[in-house]
Symmetry: C2
Subunit: 108 residues, 2 copies
Amino acid sequence: MKKQNMEHTRLLVLGLLSSGDMYGYQMIVELERRSDGTFAMKEGTLYPVLHGLEKDGLVDAYEQAAPTGRMRKYYRLTRKGKEALKTEAQDWRRYAAAVDAVLGVSFA
Amino acid sequence: MKKQNMEHTRLLVLGLLSSGDMYGYQMIVELERRSDGTFAMKEGTLYPVLHGLEKDGLVDAYEQAAPTGRMRKYYRLTRKGKEALKTEAQDWRRYAAAVDAVLGVSFA
DNA sequence: TCCTATACCTCGAGTTTCTATGTATTCAGC
DNA sequence: GCTGAATACATAGAAACTCGAGGTATAGGA
């Protein structure tokens, strides 16, 4: 059983939140939808990452009741989080371009 | 000190070898060159990966003397390795496209 | 002679992700 | 009313990966 490569978790979470506040479970569903089934993030991966982002001040959280009455914990990008997203997205593009360069992908 | 993301090591090594046999040290130098300085793979990363690829039958190795007389251990893609490269390169493209989709990158 | 580059390698630490598990609520179907 | 699936949060331990540090050795230039 090979490990799934999900190492850009922080970037992905920040990217999701840049389109609006979300709660954990929603991120997992939304991530799978936007990636067309490629990303299936596990809860055991997401929640520790969210708590880490919160501790680092890149997101903050607030509780809000769902229409059903259930409590949801929404996460929101802070200004610091927006800056981090910008930086990490650039890093990602550089990384992806470098992999393509090594693989000899031609864009001509 | 943040860890550098180097998790697609196997793919990168297979990609390098698809352009010709190489020895370990050469791969590190070549990887840095092709990626324009983005990838600085450490020896502590590369050698265990090479040995793993060999164990899995994706590469095989042979010794050959350099013009200086020093011994070098060259690695060569096996047929199985070429197939693995094809698969992993596809996985990579799918992965990269999925990240871009989540980040909302537009190619229009 | 000494330092840098070349060339191979391993071990232990640190980080990340997964699996497994736990708790609790809501809703659809029976 | 009961049951199972989906929703929603969370943590602990295992597994995987990479890095830093160290070891060995040769070649070449200052």
